[in-house]
């Protein structure tokens, strides 16, 4: 029996993002529930968020973001041989989202699967894509994080309705250009803690998302900065060398707390949550694509990604900015 020939490494070629058109402001939410713009901005740092239209599906958003990343990569649909969609809000258990999205984008017969690690999903999918390229099971991978959380939110519950939102982000992962190229996708540091499974939960198909805010906040502000530092250490990159830190956009106060403890003074810290809300597995690639569009990510420099959320699941890796 033969086995596949491995490759030295994988890298990201391009990002793509998509946000639904509808903007929901804090003032609009204040009319439906007992809250205010000031209260929301102080607690979670969100000024407005995007919500999908009634006829806008998860696959629509995923395909829009994936199409942009594909266009930016310079590759053709036929070059892609694996599609991974990270999501915790699929339209239905079957069919999966990845195969549908691939078909929409004209990607013929790729390997296609969905992956659920909630808000850590994109970092898990990126690690899986990188490993597939390195192992030789795939050559070019389209990785998408997409969520339609609005359909799982109780829009009268001020503890969750102010936080969660819809959107999608994507990246194209390919082999390193040269064997000795130092750029690429660094080692993933990932883990989980099932003891905290009930802290962020959708109990069943008739339930809404429920979160124990204080418990999640305590965990996120104490357990994650060591994970972020370990991802840097394993990539051989000192936090002081990072040009950007893109944590999951959960809550601006969590983001600022982790960034402070990470100690990366040169790094621009993603604050996409301010206008995007918390889009779970979409938040990191969406932030990356928007930062790249604004020219905030120096090409060839190291950036740190950190996903974390329900499960509890978390994952971090250093990437080279395309």
């Amino acid at each position: 029996m033969r086995v596949t020939q491995g490759r030295a490494g994988a890298r990201i070629l391009a990002f793509g993002g998509y946000q639904p058109a509808r903007v929901v402001t804090n003032d609009e939410l204040s009319q439906a529930m007992d809250t205010s713009d000031e209260w929301i901005q102080a607690r979670v740092g969100i000024a407005s968020r995007r919500v999908a239209g009634p006829d806008e599906s998860l696959a629509d958003m995923a395909a829009a973001a994936g199409g942009k990343a594909l266009a930016g990569s310079g590759l053709s649909p036929e070059d892609i041989d694996l599609v991974i969609v990270a999501t915790c809000t699929p339209e239905a258990p079957i069919p999966n989202t990845a195969a549908t999205v691939a078909r929409r984008l004209g990607i013929m017969a790729p390997g296609a699967y969905d992956l659920n690690a909630a808000c850590a999903g994109f970092c898990y999918a990126l690690a899986a894509a990188s490993d597939s390229v390195r192992a030789g099971s795939a050559t070019n991978v389209l990785v998408i994080g997409a969520e339609k959380l609005s359909q799982w939110v109780d829009w009268t519950d001020r503890s969750t309705a102010i936080i969660f939102a819809d959107g999608a982000g994507a990246a194209v992962v390919s082999p390193l250009a040269e064997e000795d190229d130092a750029a690429g996708i660094g080692p993933v540091v990932w883990g989980s803690d099932g003891d905290l499974a009930d802290k962020i939960i959708i109990s069943d198909r008739n339930s809404f998302i429920h979160q124990e805010g204080q418990a999640v906040f305590r965990w996120a502000t104490t357990a994650l900065h060591p994970v972020a530092k370990e991802a840097c250490r394993r990539a051989g990159v000192d936090p002081s060398e990072l040009t950007a830190f893109i944590p999951h956009q959960a809550n601006l106060r969590i983001i600022e707390s982790i960034a402070r403890r990470l100690g990366a003074p040169q790094a621009i810290v993603a604050d996409d949550i301010v206008t995007a809300g918390n889009t779970s597995s979409a938040s990191i690639p969406l932030a990356l694509s928007r930062m790249a569009e604004r020219g905030e990510l120096p090409s060839g420099s190291p950036a740190l990604l950190l996903g974390f959320g329900a499960g509890i699941c978390y994952a971090a890796q250093v990437i080279t900015v395309p």
């Binding site: 805010g213 204080q214 305590r218 104490t222």
Partner: protein
């Protein structure tokens, strides 16, 4: 060695200054966190985490909601130190 009330209060003042930007001299025993010091539930978590580092006393979330005043936290730390 157990800390005196004054030492706990001083340590708590430093924590609250760092977490919430409230000057330590305003952190007096009778002040309530929410109404007097304008400290919200997430900042209370940060204070609890910092207190654990400083005093070696764990304050779980279910206890946190009952600690309304600065004196409540001082008493909690003192009580936990004795029983530890």
């Amino acid at each position: 060695m157990a800390m005196t009330e004054a030492e706990i209060l001083a340590g708590l003042g430093e924590i609250i200054d760092e977490v919430a930007g409230v000057p330590a001299d305003q952190v007096t025993p009778d002040k309530t966190f929410v109404d007097d010091l304008d400290i919200d539930s997430l900042s209370m978590v940060e204070i609890a985490v910092a207190a654990q580092d400083k005093f070696g006393v764990e304050i779980p979330d279910d206890q946190l909601k009952d600690l309304k005043t600065v004196q409540d936290v001082v008493d909690y730390v003192k009580r936990s130190e004795v029983s530890a």
